[in-house]
């Protein structure tokens, strides 16, 4: 009897299934239904973005960030342009910074809503997906209105924004922000008192405080385990130091804590959006530096200088000084950083994407040790990985 019970089974999950948060493969070693060992196999979405970025100019590279991580697109663009701005030593005008924060926080809400809908569907609360996607579509409408694209915006520019926001932007954002709390309350009523949701998430996929530090887990995973670290507070960027918001923390580090942290983060994002809307003043949306930003269209017919600047910027791009910078933002998944190395040329020598999903996924085997097979899907959902971000 005892010999038979000790036998383990190796089970292959994926590539693809774990409720299709992306193409992931897991090799599990089971004792009955209990997981003893897990080995995530990644790389199915590897597209060599880092290599590609070495061959293009800094400006051309703006298209890559939203393709690397496609759920919080504006935050990704924000991360990249901030890194290049740091390399150049320029700072975007105030209006551009305020609009960036509004768009980034809208992106965060959209990303968390996708997470909420998909992880609810993983424990069979199917109606949540439709509610959440409906709300997310309101965000997508705003982002489309601003940039012309639902997802791959390419709206942020080094030194500012592509163009100013259209008329009706503030009203639409305000209407969304006003409507949000009631919706979130409704979702919380649906889930927090739902017996299935509580049973499937409480005490599942626990990550201790020490392990969160050990594996470099950031974002809601780290904060769910009680790690008080938010890039917006620790290393403020793009004007976040002037805003008033709180960082929710969990205590037990289980899936349920990550859920409560994310729900509270959406409320905090709404707070940030309302503050930013209040201080939105007229002004330029891109720096007035002809070595970095394109001259306004109207100037091209009047000034030869402008034509030369336009030509140089479009054909060759700008040349940041030789050096290296690391600049990070708080993405919905954690610390998203860009490490750019310049040798004084118009392309980066090395563009490294520090992706939060990669580090967070590394902690998965620790989280699901001695959990049940059926909880693997919940664990993956609670990490909220974007496989494009893991594999780059």
């Amino acid at each position: 009897m005892s010999e038979l019970a000790r036998e383990t089974l190796v089970l292959n999950m994926g590539p693809h299934h774990p409720s299709t948060h992306g193409v992931l493969r897991l090799i599990l070693e089971l004792e009955g239904e209990v997981i003893l060992r897990a080995d995530p196999v990644i790389g199915y979405l590897h597209t060599g973005f880092e290599k590609e970025m070495e061959t293009r100019t800094y400006h051309q590279n703006i298209v890559f960030p939203p393709r690397i991580e496609y759920l919080a697109t504006m935050i990704e663009e924000h991360a990249y342009v901030l890194a290049v701005e740091k390399l150049l030593g320029v700072r975007a005008p105030e209006r551009a910074e305020t609009i960036r924060i509004i768009l980034a926080e809208l992106s965060r809400i959209a990303s968390h809503l996708v997470w909420l809908g998909t992880s609810a569907i993983d424990v069979n609360v199917t109606s949540m997906l439709m509610y959440c996607f409906n709300d997310r579509e309101r965000v997508m409408d705003i982002l489309e209105m601003v940039s012309g694209q639902r997802m791959m915006h390419g709206y942020m520019r080094v030194g500012g924004l592509q163009w100013d926001v259209p008329a009706g932007f503030t009203e639409q954002v305000r209407a969304f922000a006003e409507a949000l709390p009631a919706r979130l309350d409704e979702y919380e009523r649906l889930l927090s008192d739902n017996l299935i949701w509580r049973e499937r998430t409480e005490g599942i996929a626990v990550l201790s405080y020490e392990d969160a530090l050990r594996y470099g887990c950031t974002g809601p995973i780290g904060r769910g385990s009680g790690v008080r670290y938010d890039v917006r507070k620790a290393f403020p960027y793009g004007g976040y130091e002037t805003y008033d918001f709180d960082i929710p923390l969990g205590s037990r580090g289980d899936s349920y804590d990550r859920y409560t942290v994310r729900m509270e983060e959406m409320r905090q994002s709404r707070r940030l959006i309302l503050q930013a809307l209040d201080r939105l003043r007229d002004g330029p949306v891109i720096v007035d530096d002809r070595k970095v930003a394109l001259p306004p269209r109207g100037e091209l017919v009047r000034s030869m200088e402008a034509v030369i600047h336009q030509f140089k910027l479009v054909s060759e791009g700008f040349h940041p000084p030789a050096g290296e910078v690391y600049s990070a933002v708080e993405s919905p998944r954690g610390e998203k950083g860009y490490y750019l190395v310049s040798d004084g040329g118009n392309r980066p020598v090395r563009a490294r994407v520090r992706s939060p999903s990669f580090n967070n996924l590394q902690a998965l085997p620790v989280m699901i040790y001695r959990n049940m097979v059926s909880d693997v899907v919940v664990a993956i959902a609670s990490i909220d990985i974007v496989l494009g971000d893991v594999d780059r």
Binding site: L213, F235, E324, E335
Partner: protein, 176 residues
């Protein structure tokens, strides 16, 4: 961004570091390869509890060719510091940082996969992003960026008429 903690660490590691680079308020300490574990251990003691990132840079014509970069973060008194090691192209080997920072596991596998730098003492050093049978290390500067022909095995392209069923088209109704 540097923070007082990073300055304090720079002073602590002054004996170990062979060079100190500063650019845009960021501190980079260059440490000899054989003393990297010592430096990481001291950084950890000094409160830099998290290895945020581990990556490499290929400076091809320059010798030594590779730079391995450890980005450490102090959460309690916010500070970041980069520790850098230069590695030769002939035999790129470094001691693994897993004893100090367990999170280095996948990051070292990625550096091995992309640059071919090996880490001594790593329990499971195999490719992580590229397929297991891949040849070469893609992020090296001498690895060309080319398109690969895609091999479709056992796939015979169909003409559209073989997919779309042939149903008779109804003639348009003439306007009355």
């Amino acid at each position: 961004m540097t923070g007082a903690a990073a300055e304090a660490l720079a002073r602590t590691l002054a004996g170990l570091a062979v060079a100190e680079e500063r650019f845009r308020d960021e501190v980079t300490l260059v440490v000899p390869a054989e003393r990297i574990l010592e430096a990481l251990g001291q950084a950890r003691e000094a409160g830099f509890a998290v290895l945020t990132d581990l990556t490499a840079i290929d400076r091809l014509p320059v010798e030594p060719r590779f730079e391995v970069v450890y980005l450490l973060t102090n959460y309690t008194t916010p500070a970041r510091v980069r520790i850098k090691v230069r590695v030769d192209a002939d035999d790129p080997v470094l001691p693994s940082a897993i004893p100090v920072y367990p999170g280095a596991n996948w990051l070292e596998r990625e550096v091995f996969d992309m640059f071919g730098i090996r880490f001594d003492g790593h329990p499971d050093l195999r490719r992580i992003l590229m397929p297991d049978d891949w040849e070469g290390h893609p992020l090296r500067k001498d690895f060309p960026l080319v398109e690969e022909p895609v091999h479709f095995v056992g796939h015979v392209p169909k003409v559209p008429s073989a997919i779309i069923p042939k149903t008779p088209r109804t003639p348009p109704t003439p306007p009355r």
